[in-house]
Symmetry: C2
Subunit: 472 residues, 2 copies
Amino acid sequence: MAERQKILASIENDFPQWYQDILEKAQLADNGPVRGTMVMRPYSYAMWEGMQSAMDARIKATGAENVYLPLFIPQSYLEREAEHVEGFSPELAVVTHAGGKELTEPVVVRPTSETLFGEVMAKWIQSHRDLPMLLNQWANVVRWEMRPRVFLRTTEFLWQEGHTAHATREDAANYARRIHLDVYKDFLENVLAIPVLPGFKTASERFAGAINTMTCEAMMGDGKALQMATSHELGQNFANAFGITFSDTDGAAQTAWTTSWGSSTRMMGGLIMSHGDDAGLVLPPRIAPHQVVVIVVKDDERTIEAARTIVADLTAAGVRAKLDDRTQTGFGRRATEWELKGVPVRVEVGPRDLDAEQITFARRDQGGKQQLPLAEVATRLPALLDEIQADMFAAAQKRLDERTKHVSTIEEAREAAQTGFAVIDWAVLGEAGEKELNKDAITVRCLQTRDGNMPDPHNPETDLVAIVARAY
Amino acid sequence: MAERQKILASIENDFPQWYQDILEKAQLADNGPVRGTMVMRPYSYAMWEGMQSAMDARIKATGAENVYLPLFIPQSYLEREAEHVEGFSPELAVVTHAGGKELTEPVVVRPTSETLFGEVMAKWIQSHRDLPMLLNQWANVVRWEMRPRVFLRTTEFLWQEGHTAHATREDAANYARRIHLDVYKDFLENVLAIPVLPGFKTASERFAGAINTMTCEAMMGDGKALQMATSHELGQNFANAFGITFSDTDGAAQTAWTTSWGSSTRMMGGLIMSHGDDAGLVLPPRIAPHQVVVIVVKDDERTIEAARTIVADLTAAGVRAKLDDRTQTGFGRRATEWELKGVPVRVEVGPRDLDAEQITFARRDQGGKQQLPLAEVATRLPALLDEIQADMFAAAQKRLDERTKHVSTIEEAREAAQTGFAVIDWAVLGEAGEKELNKDAITVRCLQTRDGNMPDPHNPETDLVAIVARAY
């Protein structure tokens, strides 16, 4: 542990510094030259590719299709939906010069593609036959950040934003709910192994222009909340602003009901802060770029050959296996590096193990070394990876449960929010209590039913509890 | 044909208008609100996703890893490599205001990430153990366009750019060659079914700062050339400008040798213009979002059920099959739509065919209708798709051969370039002849060996021929 403490700040004593240290030491990200921008290094970008791929498959399974809309938006477009603009204008980056001269109308670098989605949907939707129109986009967006922090709040970030139009309010509500539970919650829990609390935002935390905002809230290692993804029912507000209408089966003009939903590279921050420990990242197998690293302990031909065979066998068994044969670097240093990078399983191959026809392996999530017969490596490790995935989710769920207190007064909620989440009757807290807590930077993360589910969108205000916490 | 002529301009009489018509009628792309930007609709974006996925797998197979570098670059960075900047400054989009106020130093929206790759490679490379460093990025870039044309020249486009650093010139040359042949040429020919001429650019067509530029040139339907992808050996020019050095095995400081290579949404334009005909797009099966469309001819339960079963069987056989059961729209109109969209195989399912336990199908590339026993659909169509892929490549190769003339004078080269490509001895043409042809907007697309291969990078100037053409 002596060496480890030199590499990273202590997770217990200085969580923010630990987070900064991990970004650098696990070679995840650097700061870009323009304030608030980030460089995603190969290791973090590989995780993002894994996230994109798993989410994209789920998004497409709901029937949505991907599009690509332009980076640049005429400044005048952002004045169309006034309520929306209020929130963004200090965050906008504006291009005033291009093609060697000053532009007649400045263009804005998209803070979201919302206005362009409004425009294309108004154009592409004519009849009820064009509905539902289910569109999604993977892209970079820019919001000028005063207090940037890599992955959590960056001037430029990567995200997906979905925008859909429906014939009825019910269709829109059902679709937004489906995205929220079958895409976001399912992905976060089953791929990232992060248990989330799905619920509705209160009126004061709701997205500007939305009639309902759904959120997935997760607990980080320090007991604070991170909003991992949101989905909005926009009612007819957005459709009215952009003229998204359709002719119904009788040929009468109707206004569409729309939704939007998004998630971003912020999830990278959530992944780091959910599972990491004093030795570094801990990655769930389903998102880990390398699920198993096979380390050649000693530079001799038989050992290298055996390690290569193990990697080949694991690869054939569908495992993302990586060979580390850099024997010119000390074994301890390499083991520390893979620990820092959170590789789920570290396999060590050395002459003594080979004599005994076995390998030594260590689980990153639980530590400790075990042996496995050489002949069983390719059959046993895939099952072990599933076990690690399940154990990591269970450990995160356990922490969430342990650090969540059911309370009955605002004072108790404030107290509980210093170390975790508080659950309090929404009827007890109310908007007045919410404002009271906001003074201490404590917010209502979401409203849920008593059994921890999303409220009924058609009858949302009945007998709900508020999840209260400090948040990123 | 009467109806078709109303939908699209004639490919023979007005190729540019035909191209514009296809973009709209096949629902590929719209113009964005800011001049020169484009909206990629679901159908074209699905093709781009197919291109990305096929290219990305090939790029990773060479050992390269993906990263993400920031959109914004401080203006001062672009002054570091003066030779490079010359080419870009009128094309730059500049952000002068952000966060509600004027920036102290304006930032540029990346026209390429070259300068940032230079910076990170200088930082990440210390020792010979860090080489080769093989990086790639998928991103949007911006170059202000005066004469925009969707996919071919747009103010914002999507692309991949690879940047690599190596210990020796030979390693760099070999890697650039591998990217060019195993990634670009292989992808273009085997996925897009577009035969390409690989070769070197002449000194006057070379990328600024490169010691050698490799290109893949393709012939479009009107006989003009389109540059589909380029790879550059940058020698030590780029490494010197950015300070990319490494300590060699003796601990001495050495300067790295770098390469860069890129391809973009321009390939979408190449795909359209290579294979399209008077009825619309013609897509090679390997890139087609829908490889087979199964059209329900008549709205009765048995027909719909049979069509659904065919789609399920094809999907299970690994075919991207799409059901068209929009029987409220006339059959002819739907068939025309799928023809416009270039779906490789159109399967028609109607009551009469079902009585005979068969289906009717049409190949998009060759036309004409054929019958197939119902029981053989899922086994025969996958093989048919392979056949179509091969036939489309052969047809494009035939056109390329037929419209390529071997000539021996500059006058003959000029004449041949009016309808296709000319091949002329480089010793005969020379730089003087190249300048002469440039006056008529005819360029040397590439230099090749006499047998149509890339020249030897170590001995490039021996006995080469020049491919001469008009170009996009």
